[in-house]
């Protein structure tokens, strides 16, 4: 253990234990299942995790801020419905494939706007983000049902779903999008003033206020970012399906939060990273994919998934343990 901590790679691993875990399950599934270790399967995993992954990128910012957004699942459904419905509006029928553009803009704008709304409420009322977005989780779902009148939408234009299934070279487009977004948010968080302020606001809100950071607008921006990514996830998900349903994205918030926390972001704010979040997302994706391929019965999948979440935490604890000298509190 001590030796592990002394070299650089070891130190990195101690800070991001999730990647150690990923290596373990990766090796495990590769050895125990013939279909797992396959380029196409890896692509599948990336595409399948991209939905949760995109949202998790935004959620990381919000959670480092010390807030949370439970409404992302509902926003996914709203964005997906807008995306699929608007592109088939009469008004755009002459636009060819460009009919997707207004739909895309509307979907992303709706997500961003709802994020802004959440953020402004949190800022102005001082009500805990948990309760604000819990309300929004219900309310936005209500909006979805009002908008869709309970209907699922279907994209007549197969180009839409073809985009979702397309590839850039050997890599699926959605995977590329996800990877680009990951890098972008990583840079945002680690290199820009806004990103650094995100840590300050979450780590010590009073210090941030005293230092003159405009905490309110800052938080609103991060809520807008998570709203944007939730909407983007809705768009990519609907393009995988070429359709949307009003119940899309239920319980996504829980999985997203799980991924983010697995990746080392603190619920209390102030700490976390995109590399960690990416690891958390990947870990969940690999687990699900591996268990599908191994045909673990549905009931046991739940038990295994739950146990493994806890096991990862345990591993994390072991890696970061201070040793016998530590204060016992």
């Amino acid at each position: 253990m001590e030796r592990l901590k002394s070299n650089r790679a070891g130190k990195w691993l101690v800070q991001n234990p999730i990647w150690g875990f990923i290596v373990i399950i990766f090796v495990f599934f590769s050895l125990s299942n013939e279909y797992f270790f396959d380029m196409r399967n890896f692509q599948n995993i990336l595409v399948q995790t991209s939905t949760i992954g995109l949202i998790a990128l935004g959620m990381t910012l919000v959670m480092i801020n010390g807030n949370i957004d439970l409404s992302v699942g509902a926003v996914v459904a709203l964005a997906a419905s807008l995306m699929v419905d608007i592109q088939s509006w009469e008004a755009f029928s002459g636009w060819g494939n460009w009919q997707m553009l207004p739909a895309l803009l509307a979907a992303l704008a709706a997500g961003t706007a709802l994020g802004a709304l959440n953020g402004i409420i949190v800022w102005k009322t001082g009500v805990d983000a948990f309760i604000v977005t819990l309300g929004a989780m219900l309310g936005v779902r209500g909006l979805v049902f009002i908008y869709t009148e309970e209907q699922s939408f279907f994209a007549m234009n197969f180009t839409f779903s073809d985009i979702g299934m397309s590839s850039v070279g050997p890599v699926p487009s959605l995977a590329v999008l996800f990877l680009i977004a990951t890098v972008a948010v990583h840079i945002l968080l680690s290199r820009t003033v806004h990103g650094r302020n995100t840590y300050a606001v979450g780590g010590n809100r009073e210090a941030a206020v005293n230092a003159g950071i405009r905490v309110g607008p800052h938080m609103v921006v991060n809520f807008m970012i998570v709203g944007f990514f939730a909407a983007l996830a809705g768009v990519t998900l609907s393009s995988q399906m070429g359709a949307s349903t009003p119940n899309l994205g239920r319980e996504y918030e829980l999985w997203v939060i799980t991924a983010v926390v697995l990746g080392g972001t603190k619920l209390t704010g102030g700490a976390g990273s995109i590399i960690g979040t990416f690891g958390g997302v990947l870990a969940i994706g690999i687990l699900r994919n591996g268990m599908n391929l191994m045909q673990v019965p549905a009931f046991y999948v739940l038990v295994i998934l739950g146990s493994i979440l806890i096991a990862v935490l345990f591993l994390d604890k072991q890696l970061t343990r201070k040793g016998a000298e530590a204060l016992k509190t």
Partner: protein
């Protein structure tokens, strides 16, 4: 003298924004829906709220100690399926006993992982949420369970019967609330829970066995789930594997509506009761007004935020948050 008393009283009322919000809702619904304020309906709502309420009491204790319990929903499914299933096999008494033991074991597991091993409570209980859901399905084989003789069993008492002329779920809810309120406010144990939630390190430096306190809160929470399962099982006389799905967030909403901070160290049981009742009355009121379900969701969104806003605004003495 009298004047200052009055002023004090005014100050106290002003700080209890949630009570005002609660009163406003009641009046509002009563104005718009005739059937709302009937005794029949009011008791019916409280009776319905008892299940969420009993669970929320347990979760409040967990939250005060600075942790979360998201596993209560699937634990409720587990417990209800178990007690209903065993009812016909070994009789109501033993069924309840076995179920309580099983649920307490799950609570101990939560408590061990969070209290003793100090693992992050959100992820632990999310993991348990999933695992217990799986356990339930494995236990029942995915089948619904039912009680065959619904009329003849004394198990009917808990969900359908009356005690001293009051619906049994209400009595259980009220008794539990009062007992836990007293425990939290007037016993050494309660004080320790607040201390652990308020400052875990300082509590250890004060000679409090932090691990044990955290452990115990999860046992209490599990016990409350067990009680809720008895009420639910008896009320429905059957169960399905996902009855409790989503309850964890509803329960938490009730707790937070009551003003308990997720950061731990503050909150009271009685306010949780009010929070839960607000949720129950909103749902019921909107249903009686005949809104479509999605309109109900929209209104709930607005109402929840308004209620908590009123509460925090009253506490800080100004409407908008001062942060820039």
């Amino acid at each position: 003298m009298a004047e200052t008393r009055l002023k004090q009283l005014g100050g106290i009322v002003a700080r209890q924004g949630i009570l005002i919000a609660f009163a406003l809702f009641l009046v509002g619904f009563a104005v718009f829906s005739e059937s709302f304020s009937s005794t029949e309906n009011l008791t019916s709502v409280v009776r319905q709220s008892a299940i969420i309420g009993v669970m929320a009491i347990g979760v409040t204790v967990v939250v005060i100690s600075g942790n979360l319990d998201l596993s209560v929903g699937s634990m409720l499914s587990f417990a209800t399926v178990m007690v209903v299933d065993l009812h016909d096999k070994i009789g109501p008494g033993p069924a309840m006993l076995v179920m309580l033991v099983a649920v307490l074991c799950l609570g101990c597991l939560n408590g061990f992982l969070v209290g003793m091993l100090r693992l992050n409570s959100l992820i632990v209980t999310l993991g348990m949420l999933s695992a217990i859901q799986g356990l339930t399905l494995i236990y029942s084989g995915g089948q619904n369970v039912d009680i065959a003789d619904q009329e003849g069993t004394w198990f009917a008492l808990f969900g359908r019967g009356e005690i001293l002329g009051i619906a049994a779920p209400i009595v259980m809810f009220a008794v539990l609330a009062v007992v836990m309120q007293v425990v939290m406010s007037s016993t050494a144990y309660g004080r320790r829970v607040y201390a652990v939630g308020g400052n875990p390190t300082a509590s250890v430096f004060s000679g409090i066995r932090r691990s044990r306190v955290v452990f115990s809160t999860y046992v209490i929470s599990a016990f409350c789930v067990g009680l809720a399962a008895i009420i639910l099982g008896s009320r429905v006389m059957g169960s399905q594997n996902n009855v409790g799905q989503g309850y964890e967030l509803l329960v938490l909403a009730g707790v937070i509506l009551g003003g308990t901070s997720l950061l731990g160290g503050s909150g009271t049981i009685l306010k949780t009761v009010i929070g839960v009742l607000i949720l129950g009355f909103i749902q019921n009121g909107l249903l009686l007004l005949g809104f479509a379900y999605y309109v109900q969701w929209l209104v709930t969104w607005v109402v929840i935020i308004l209620a908590v806003w009123l509460d925090v605004a009253a506490k800080r003495g100004r409407l908008f948050s001062p942060i820039a």
